[in-house]
């Protein structure tokens, strides 16, 4: 009998309408990601090995880069500044997260909220605020003992400010999932507090810490906004790309620096994924949540730390707001809205603000649509397994690609003569495509998580009932995942409003953006209007965030009746 079975022909499953549609959809998505992500990056890789005329020169560009100490010195600059800023951020974020999760300080919700505020601002905002605080006419200039804010000091402080919430989220998650049983065990074994801290607390949070370490380092080393505004003569890799491309039109050298920038980001990507998996598997479902007991000395110290950090964050925002409202800093501080009338300035206007809103809305709408449908196809398609895996991997790439690199890759790709997509160059559509591609991964992973929480047999039941997959997708899957879809839309909107790095290469006179306007106005010396524009972005993002809260609540009340028991 066994021989008979072996000799029998292998069954080739026949494809029904669902399988064709889903497989086809998956193919379209894979092509979309290939065009908006993979091809541009591949082209950039090729460019780094070409001379200005497009002839292949191998590693000559790299040799020239490292042969020129003025250029290659930037690598060292970037490394030590990023390392220092990362260390400070992680230390502060750990203290803050510890206070929020493991102490009995009051107003935890409020402190958490304040810590998240920097997410709503472009990284340019803290840099501008620093100029007002510690710049040549700064109110607190004396605090620097004669050192200049323009340079490493400014970059470090600014970077710490805007990466703080990113680190806090990761570390807070790690600290928030403590198992009280471990603490009880440690206590009953007579371990000292310090020993409990190192063996239980730190070791439990270690993956979160490692994760945060790499993510923050990558964010800082690839950031463009802060060093652009307060870097002064101090060069960083990201500003180098900008100078090479925008200043000297040397695209090949820009590609070389981009590849260097890609290295830490790719490394961080893999470490992050490794740490994430470890973090999940170390959490047993039987863990008992840890409830901190009051302890005066610890709680007081925690409160001091949290208040200090919160005051600094609010101080930076307050400074930017004040600067945008003061009539003529530092001579006439009477309040005025004149800086919000951008007509007198070069490089920014209310039209840029309008463009940013449009970019945010388009990105939120199309981005969440593409990401959610895409994640659904990756998760639920029963056929074409290799295509599913390939598409999933494509969707993970953006996490490892710095915005500057993506922006430059887009120039190479869409501006290439002979590319049939050339007509998109300089349009709003391309900005939307770039922004979706730039922030694709987080949305994709959020959607996957939401989809994985649904019963995996919905599709089986639906097939047995002869319902086409798109009907179940529309009537069941999407309504059940709506909160996640809203989160993705919000994420896209806020990032579209605040990002500078990818779009700084891609806007045209018709599609100037608010975040880029902040940069250009600051560049032109119009610092107060730049602060005003940055505040506009913050206020808009905060407004949309509030709208999101309201909408989610309304949604829960109206369409999610089933959640109530």
């Amino acid at each position: 009998m066994a021989e008979l079975a072996l000799a029998a022909p292998r069954i080739r499953p026949r494809l029904g309408r669902d399988e064709w549609l889903m497989g086809g959809g998956l193919l379209v998505l894979a092509l979309y990601l290939a065009v908006t992500l993979l091809l541009p990056l591949a082209l950039m890789l090729a460019k780094s090995a070409q001379d200005r005329d497009g002839a292949f020169v191998g590693l000559a560009n790299f040799a020239r880069y490292f042969g020129n100490p003025a250029l290659s010195g930037t690598v060292g600059n970037s490394l030590w500044v990023s390392a220092l800023a990362t260390a400070i951020t992680i230390a502060l974020a750990f203290g803050y997260a510890y206070a929020l999760n493991r102490s009995r300080i009051p107003f935890k919700g409020l402190f958490r909220l304040v810590a998240m505020l920097p997410l709503l601002a472009p990284s340019l905002l803290p840099a501008i605020a620093l100029v007002y605080l510690f710049g040549n006419q700064g109110v607190l200039k004396g605090w620097l003992f004669g050192e200049s804010i323009y340079g490493p000091i400014g970059i470090v402080i600014g970077s710490v400010f805007w990466t703080f919430p990113h680190a806090l989220i990761l570390i807070s998650t790690a600290l928030g999932t403590a198992d009280a049983r471990l603490y009880e065990a440690s206590e009953s074994l007579g371990a000292s507090r310090w020993r409990t801290f190192t063996t239980v607390t730190l070791s439990g949070a270690r993956y979160g810490l490692i994760s945060a370490l790499f993510v923050v380092f990558t964010l800082i080393i690839t950031d463009f906004g802060v060093p652009k505004v307060v870097g002064g003569p101090f060069n960083m890799l990201a500003t180098d790309i900008y100078k090479q491309v925008v200043g000297q039109q040397n695209f090949q050298m820009g590609a070389v620096v981009s590849l260097l920038l890609l290295l830490p980001a790719v490394l961080a990507f893999f470490v992050e994924r490794w740490a994430q998996q470890r973090q999940i598997s170390s959490l047993s479902s039987r863990a008992v949540p840890y409830q901190p007991k009051p302890r005066r000395s610890r709680d007081r110290l925690a409160l001091v730390l949290v208040v200090t950090v919160a005051v600094m964050i609010l101080g930076v925002f307050g400074m930017a707001a004040f600067a945008s409202l003061a009539k003529l800093w530092p001579y006439d501080l009477s309040p005025s809205l004149r800086h919000y009338d951008f007509s007198a300035t070069d490089g920014g206007s209310w039209a840029s603000y309008g463009n940013s809103i449009r970019l945010g809305l388009y990105t939120a709408a199309f981005g969440s649509l593409v990401v959610f449908i895409g994640a659904y196809l990756v998760e639920k398609t029963r056929v074409a397994k290799p295509l599913r895996t390939a598409t999933h991997l494509l969707a993970l790439i953006p996490m490892a690609v710095p915005g500057m690199v993506l922006g430059l890759a887009y120039i190479f790709f869409f501006n290439a003569p002979g590319n049939p997509l050339n007509f998109l160059y300089g349009t709003m559509a391309m900005l939307v495509l770039a922004t979706i591609a730039h922030f694709y991964t987080v949305g994709h992973l959020t959607a996957l998580t939401a989809l994985k929480q649904l019963d995996p047999e919905f599709e089986s039941v639906s097939a047995a009932l002869k319902a086409p997959f798109y009907r179940t997708f529309w009537r069941v899957t999407t309504p059940l995942c709506l909160p996640a879809v809203l989160d993705i839309a919000l994420y896209f909107f806020i990032n579209a409003m605040t990002t500078v790095s990818a779009v700084v290469f891609l806007y045209s006179p018709d599609t100037t953006l608010a975040s880029v306007a902040v940069l250009n106005m600051d560049d032109a010396g119009d610092t107060a209007p730049a602060a005003a524009m940055a505040m506009l972005i913050v206020v808009t993002c905060a407004g949309v965030r509030l709208l999101h809260v309201g909408l989610s609540r309304e949604l829960l009340n109206r369409t999610q009746v089933w959640r109530r028991r």
């Binding site: 066994a2 079975a5 026949r14 029904g16 019963d455 089986s460 009932l465 369409t559 089933w562």
Partner: protein, 361 residues
């Protein structure tokens, strides 16, 4: 004999180098209730998913109602399915869940309405139409899932461990209900379970599986009383398996006792395993009125309510241990206590022999 409704022929499923189903063939008749029973990893779920088309087999054929469906996607087959997790659409009401498949067939609204009402009555939840699944108990949700599967009157009903997520009491209750419903509708049904009690009480026929192969197919009584091999003997119900030696014609030696039993197929002197169910051992106390008897001591007595678990050893059993079920009433009559010596009667037809040392794994 009529042609089978569902024919599974030489079905093999491989995942890379792992063979999950190895050349499995079964015929299932119209209206039959068949259980696939086996430990986890035995291939029962893989077989169900091959029959439904959710995970198509690598080799072999599946025929339903004379139609070769081997390669068809699930949407082109005719079956209803119920999962352990219920898989109810949480954002739709109970009525909308049941109507889901009907709406898809573009039936008139009034007809759908009527059918939903009918099914709600059938599962004993006539008032629950406007509720959401989250507002129902586990047992009720599983009944709704059953109604949803039955709504479109499929030719074949597949139940994938439908009772495993429920607590014991609800499970026993729903077990009876599903059985009654199945008989009433006369729908051909396949149920997967790892619970032998469930299989024995519900199925017309049981398919015992292990390691991707079928160990035995038969009616519950047949599987219970005439297990085809050591695996089935051990897997279904409680079973004493004692090493023994075949001696003279139709006799074995167990410890120092000689017992008559059907011993065809074993050469004299062959080492065998004697299989005896605990409830087939009759305790006769001090009297010894039967031919097929031996003496042993009560080592332990465990009170279970309606019966005692006896652990027997010593006497003619020697080193061997025997577990027996003694009805409480009989224990009272015999006034049996721990460490008492007792006579045990084992009817010859209740002893089954298996080759020694084969079939473990």
């Amino acid at each position: 004999m009529t042609t089978p409704y569902l024919r599974v022929r030489n079905v093999t499923k491989r995942f890379g180098h792992f063979t999950a189903l190895d050349d499995v063939s079964i015929d299932i008749h119209r209206g039959e209730f068949v259980c696939f029973l086996g430990p986890s990893g035995c291939g029962k779920t893989t077989l169900l998913r091959a029959i439904s088309g959710l995970d198509i087999q690598t080799h072999g054929a599946v025929e339903q109602d004379g139609r070769d469906i081997s390669a068809l996607p699930p949407a082109q087959r005719d079956f209803g399915i119920v999962f352990q997790s219920y898989a109810l659409f949480q954002n739709l009401t109970v009525a909308a869940n049941i109507a889901y498949g009907l709406e898809n067939r573009k039936r008139p609204k009034a007809e759908i309405q009527r059918r939903v009402t009918e099914l709600l009555e059938l599962i004993g939840l006539p008032e629950s139409g406007p509720k959401y699944p989250g507002q129902l108990s586990g047992g009720q949700q599983q009944r709704v899932a059953l109604a949803r599967a039955l709504a479109v009157s499929p030719g074949l009903l597949l139940l994938d461990e439908p009772l495993s997520a429920l607590d014991a009491k609800v499970r026993a209750h729903l077990r009876d209900e599903i059985k009654i419903l199945q008989r009433r509708l006369g729908i051909t049904t396949i149920m997967i379970t790892h619970d032998q009690e469930e299989a024995i009480s519900m199925a017309d026929r049981i398919v015992v599986m292990r390691g991707g192969r079928i160990e035995q197919i038969g009616a519950p009584l047949e599987i219970y009383h005439r297990p085809a091999n050591l695996f089935v003997a051990e897997f279904i119900g409680a079973m004493n398996l004692l090493p023994a030696t075949r001696i003279g014609y139709g006799e074995i030696q167990l410890g120092s006792a000689r017992l008559a039993c059907a011993a065809e197929g074993y050469a004299p002197g062959a080492a065998v395993r004697a299989a005896v169910r605990p409830e087939d051992i009759v305790c006769t106390g001090k009297t010894n009125g039967h031919a097929n008897s031996l003496r042993a001591e009560v080592r332990e007595m465990e009170f279970m309510g309606p019966f005692f678990w006896l652990s027997l050893g010593g006497g003619e059993l020697g080193e061997h241990r025997l577990r027996a079920q003694l009805p409480s009433q009989r224990a009272r009559d015999l006034d049996l206590r721990a460490n008492d010596a007792t006579h045990l009667h084992i009817p010859a037809e209740r002893i089954r022999l298996f080759p020694h040392g084969v079939g473990h794994g």
